[in-house]
Symmetry: C4
Subunit: 505 residues, 4 copies
Amino acid sequence: MSKGLSGKEVAQHNTAESCWIIVHGKVYDVTEFLPEHPGGSKIILKYAGKDATAEYDPIHPPNAITDNLPPEKHLGPVDQDTVLKVDVVVTDEEKARQERIQQRPSLTEILNLHDFEAIARQVMSEKAWAYYSSAADDEITHRENHAAYHRIWFRPRVLRNVTNVDWSTKILGHPTKMPIYITATALGKLGHPDGELNLTRAAAKHDIIQMIPTLASCSFDEIVDSAAPGQVQFLQLYVNGDREITKKFVQHAEKRGIKGLFITVDAPQLGRREKDMRMKFEAEDPREVTDNKASNKVDRSQGAARAISSFIDTSLDWKDIPWFQSITKMPLILKGVQCWEDALQAYDMGLAGVVLSNHGGRQLDFARSGIETLVEVVRELKARRGLTFPNEKFQLFVDGGVRRATDVLKAVALGATAVGIGRPFLYAFSAYGQEGVERALQILHDEFEMNMRLLGARTIKEVVPEMVDAGSVHQHIVSVPDDSLYFSNYESMQSARLKDVKSKM
Amino acid sequence: MSKGLSGKEVAQHNTAESCWIIVHGKVYDVTEFLPEHPGGSKIILKYAGKDATAEYDPIHPPNAITDNLPPEKHLGPVDQDTVLKVDVVVTDEEKARQERIQQRPSLTEILNLHDFEAIARQVMSEKAWAYYSSAADDEITHRENHAAYHRIWFRPRVLRNVTNVDWSTKILGHPTKMPIYITATALGKLGHPDGELNLTRAAAKHDIIQMIPTLASCSFDEIVDSAAPGQVQFLQLYVNGDREITKKFVQHAEKRGIKGLFITVDAPQLGRREKDMRMKFEAEDPREVTDNKASNKVDRSQGAARAISSFIDTSLDWKDIPWFQSITKMPLILKGVQCWEDALQAYDMGLAGVVLSNHGGRQLDFARSGIETLVEVVRELKARRGLTFPNEKFQLFVDGGVRRATDVLKAVALGATAVGIGRPFLYAFSAYGQEGVERALQILHDEFEMNMRLLGARTIKEVVPEMVDAGSVHQHIVSVPDDSLYFSNYESMQSARLKDVKSKM
Amino acid sequence: MSKGLSGKEVAQHNTAESCWIIVHGKVYDVTEFLPEHPGGSKIILKYAGKDATAEYDPIHPPNAITDNLPPEKHLGPVDQDTVLKVDVVVTDEEKARQERIQQRPSLTEILNLHDFEAIARQVMSEKAWAYYSSAADDEITHRENHAAYHRIWFRPRVLRNVTNVDWSTKILGHPTKMPIYITATALGKLGHPDGELNLTRAAAKHDIIQMIPTLASCSFDEIVDSAAPGQVQFLQLYVNGDREITKKFVQHAEKRGIKGLFITVDAPQLGRREKDMRMKFEAEDPREVTDNKASNKVDRSQGAARAISSFIDTSLDWKDIPWFQSITKMPLILKGVQCWEDALQAYDMGLAGVVLSNHGGRQLDFARSGIETLVEVVRELKARRGLTFPNEKFQLFVDGGVRRATDVLKAVALGATAVGIGRPFLYAFSAYGQEGVERALQILHDEFEMNMRLLGARTIKEVVPEMVDAGSVHQHIVSVPDDSLYFSNYESMQSARLKDVKSKM
Amino acid sequence: MSKGLSGKEVAQHNTAESCWIIVHGKVYDVTEFLPEHPGGSKIILKYAGKDATAEYDPIHPPNAITDNLPPEKHLGPVDQDTVLKVDVVVTDEEKARQERIQQRPSLTEILNLHDFEAIARQVMSEKAWAYYSSAADDEITHRENHAAYHRIWFRPRVLRNVTNVDWSTKILGHPTKMPIYITATALGKLGHPDGELNLTRAAAKHDIIQMIPTLASCSFDEIVDSAAPGQVQFLQLYVNGDREITKKFVQHAEKRGIKGLFITVDAPQLGRREKDMRMKFEAEDPREVTDNKASNKVDRSQGAARAISSFIDTSLDWKDIPWFQSITKMPLILKGVQCWEDALQAYDMGLAGVVLSNHGGRQLDFARSGIETLVEVVRELKARRGLTFPNEKFQLFVDGGVRRATDVLKAVALGATAVGIGRPFLYAFSAYGQEGVERALQILHDEFEMNMRLLGARTIKEVVPEMVDAGSVHQHIVSVPDDSLYFSNYESMQSARLKDVKSKM
């Protein structure tokens, strides 16, 4: 039996005129694809005739190359023994990053979910940080997602026996130890070689539900395979323009035991994320940028998100919902609903729930936060259909901006069944791998225990609307621009000072 | 035939006692005009007896000198061959600026309209930057124009087939590829030698409508001449105290094919712009400032705006409207309406529309933003005349503070037919010429495509009031002054840190 | 006739045991007064046996020493020829200040009222700056006075013939060229040797009314004497515990032609101004501070304000009003009213008006701004007595925080007859003497002309309530404390940048 | 009679295998307790075989060791003469701190309560500062406690005879010179060797009531013993899981003359205070942190608060109230009520009052401030039970965030009987001992005198609701996230400047 193409042969196709690369032991002729590569041709040419797997893996979903190249460009396996190792030049920047990784504080010093982000920002590659942290336009909605929680305050109850507090609950009928789930985020290997598996394994340990992303770095089956027996997983779905692909994927997922299908409806086109786009130019061959401008054929400036999402169907419509209902018995939830009208429509069409979400602020800037939309949806669905929330038949979820158990408890008090958390877990495994995610979940447990007691709620059912004051949630205030001349004249008050200048600060 | 005055003869009149200058090949005796020159006499005396065209051009409308000097001071043409070249001393500051121009990033790196301003600020002359960027008093309204958009949030709809989205529309019956137009701004040559022609040409390429300013650096006919066949142009009008001049101008414009007349009503006197005024003093001869103070005859401190606008008629009144209706068939629009009462009056007098504008914050500080006024106008004109907007018969426009397609979509959702954009295009050509304006328009196209899809609107008609929450737009909040003593004592929370200090930031 | 005591004799009383000083040519024995001197004994002892006039003058009302020392300590005139000059040691700090004075920009470069403050802060002595600029407690109200105007926005009218605009009006029946008056502020000589006379003379030139302060550095008669023929002056009155003194003063003022009596009612005790108090310690003899603490008899830490105001009657009451009405025919106005209840009471008792004021933020911190109180007073006096404003019979004034003609026009639109301006004029003469005040008034004229035109108001009568939106004036917002951990993780958006680092900024 | 164990013998038990320590002259075998010590074993091992009293005292309540060690580990007294002195190594940091202590400004330079904090922050140990200043989670509520007062403004009255103003009142029937009391705070010796006695003695001098904390550094009896004859003291109670202990403590307190029992109800579990927790790691043995992580048996990262509070009963319930009423005749007040529902319940169960408090922001983050809750409680108890406040039968107290007499007066105007002040007094004695607390009280007196006069209130009864405007108190605003790109482009206005750069600032 043939061992495949020889490395030597592959190595000869190392120019823009004939460019072969090896990925996961297979050879591909990408010559014609070069000008269309969303990441630019330069980065491919660096691996022309060589094994590109290490570079390829973290920034592509596993089947990106097989899906995008026509079959005749799939040249078959290579004889691995004959392939020369690529000498990876470690840049000074990368060396500095490796040093920073050595300087991470111990996990016991991580006190809250913010801490993971602070460390991840230091130890992730620039590219990964740009992809994870970026959001749409001016990133107003991205930050509003967090800020909106700060407009909601507690009205705690006292003198209740809170010796035993229990913050477990059910999501779509499945038990979870906390009213949260790990929501879908793309390209997990950018942050850590094990990618999404970090989440799967930590979720198993803590009896938490993970939502598997369509655009995972690991393959769907890999993620399902690494689940513990009985571990509940959901699936986030980007609907493909080719509905047969989607049907196959959905039915495969159902067979593999997925318990809920979250159809993303807020991303007919993936957002422009300028931090991510700006990152591109630093890696770009200036000469090519000029050429590119001349030809104008491919706009490489759209960042990773665009590159991997061209298959998403822009025509998805309410009319497609019955079709989904016909191909699967999994509960269907719309992810990305942003006003009561659409939530009502979802209810009326018999769906199992909606995620009130703006995609982490990565799609439409100035979309409102999920937590603000929640207040509106609960009010209107009560007024129009007599529903009360949390509601087993039609469940409301919220994601975006959550950093504390108090954020979750606010959402629950206002009617959410559970809250999706995404980036904090990405940052947790980017900084510390699976152990990081476990520590993050443990921190949330500690916070839930504390805050349930302080709220006077023994169970999630006792976390009721009267426990929060959301009266300011709809306020979108921008202060009158400041009066520079006045303020530059004003001399701030000064405290008493030590006689000498030897102050501590 | 005479070749005109000889350069040698002109060169003898190089003192304050007898000062001739050459502009565009003609000689002018400006001796008596010296003390009245709004820019100060010093700058003229620098060119006494010489050719001042290069200095003159960018900061004067083309006919400034002919209009301001009595005919007997027009000494006729000069024999160009005999004129000595003026040695322009390139200052260090100018050299540094020229270097910065060489350092501009490529246009593909410009990701949004803010970027043009960031680059223009670096590569424009101080004088040009001061003139373009300055606004009235404390520049509160100038910034509020932008800030007001941030108090308006979206309520997007999902699950609509947004494969095809179309953001073209009509303005006064004329098609435009986007619901925007290039609004009138003065003195285009301050930013680029081609001045307003950069806008004309880019507008042609993108099927966008340009509004020609009365105070353009290029002459009106030059701008009309460089339009493409069929290209639609509007005219912004400052009404002259001498109505015959205005009549001639308006009727000439109509003959040249102008499709709409936007009469500026918010500038009976041009605003005090202190950044622009402060700029003056740096160019001034200190001795002269002292003299000036003594005589007090001419206040040179009023900046470029005042200097070029003394002809504007302060007596313009509602009573003049029928006269305008009698001299032209062009649709008449009032530019600078700032409350519903005046919008209603315009409607009742049969005008074609109003621009809700505060002149880019350059006139009355603490005037409200156009977008805020829009909410009020739509409400009251509905209540009082049963109108709904957008409305073909009486069109509402808004300008000021727009930087993103989302800003435009907010205005459209609230009832505007289209939105005027001014400074961003000035900055685009100041930084990159015509190509800059084209890139700016392309960026807007990209943003419109994305955001129409994310809003769930396939056409401009589908951008409806329910898609925005403008509930906070009338809030003009200034926080309680801060408590310095308390805050200087408070120690901010600190995230986890790397063990070593070698952090990235 | 005796030439008085000899300088030589006086010079022998130069110790704490026997301490004589010379002020304005007269000798005083202040030995027993030393421990009670609000400014501390050290500063007096520096002049023991010498002429203290130069030091005394700027920080005392003219009759401070005669009023505070018993008659037997008045030792009579000194023979000036025999008095040794005090060698004033010019400190390095003072030299630096004198240099800064030389560096003042020319008056034509002063563009607004803020500019005077910016220069004054540089050229005044620390002591004078501390006294003028300080306010009560955390200076919240002080800054709120200005901030409140920023919560009020304009609704300007267009297409009105504004060729002729006239912002003159009447105050208590007396014409003024602008709807402002110079309000009373103490200790003018701290800022300039001519003290309040700078204001008198500039007011005369501009036909503006000056309100003479009780605590002027110049004597009342000096100020009245320097008025131009027919110049209108008002008097601000601190009521003395000894009503005979007050009666004499008021009747003297009336005889001298004062046209209105503004009785201060917001200062039964003068405020603690901590900036002023903190200043003290730097001048203090540390040894004495210790002694002082031990004895605790006199608290020297209360700043200039307390020192000069001990005579003010804390018992002043509504019951005293008829007595004032009995001793003078001058119109009586209460200065410092802060709620509608007291304004109504003033109206019901037949007074001529009230000044809605919080004493420039120098008395009760968290008192509301005059402009906010105005809205309330106009509303309630309309509801309860059917009054409309501006009202000739019962006039409303506002002071505090005014820096622009737009501020004044907001107050006028809301019902004020005129607005008092204090500190800006202090800063104007502290920086430039009388010419500074004239320039300040000229700037206001320029701003009024511009802004009346832009508002569409030809006369003060046309400045009507509909021209402002004061809907946010009662909002006292303090933002939710910021989330340091979140914000320190967030990476701000960055604009496009020049390739090289040679940017301008 | 035996002199006890010899120091030599104790000194042999100086390892983790056998670890004895001496505290207050008694020997304890803490070998088995080592892994459970909340402060980590390392710090104990440092004193193994030695006298640990100096280290032990400030951070433990007096009976911590006797309560936590089983009786058989109490090895009895040591012969003090035979104990070797522990050589305390003075670190550089400590030396610097001692120097800063020498540089404290004199007390007369302390002008307000903020000043104490500014000095204390410089002169306290890091550990003490972290414990006192830290609060829950993101410390939002901690700062909101102060900020909420800034949303409440005054409506002062004028022309009232305020010669005599009196701000004394009664709390639970006991006279106090001011409407404040010293509220309970733990571990006073962290700040000063005399701990809570500083407060007792200063309170006696000023006729102010002190609330004794359960977790004082000094023993309860010590504090009561140092009270002056007739001095009123209250007791703050953490309820023990073992109710007999609580019963004994309460009845002992009543016998000792305590006049009110404040049962803490907002702390079934003590809060996570991350500043305090982060402090830990700096003192920790890195090796042990690793071990700890492995074993995971004890979480040492919870800070001082958790360490000392494990006895607190989480099961405390409304059902326990009658039991308290049965064991004591002292008036019972609930400390930590945070909504009207619980205040109403307390009233209905016949309690004497409630403290509207969130434990200084140290428990539940996003709990509302006491002053905001006060507005709600007064409104609802009036609506539901017809009560008016202040009310002798059911008294409302507020604590948290108070720094000025104006803060207190706002609370009194809104219905509070008195206001608790905690941290400012801690900082006062940490910086200056008892004299600091006295100065703090004197400053409050000065502020009360001033502000009562300026409010126009002669007595506390005259401080009425109409004197404040609390209309914005319920507003919890977070601004729309800022637009970095826009703001980085905007160039701030600049004031006029000196010609030269030699400016003062």
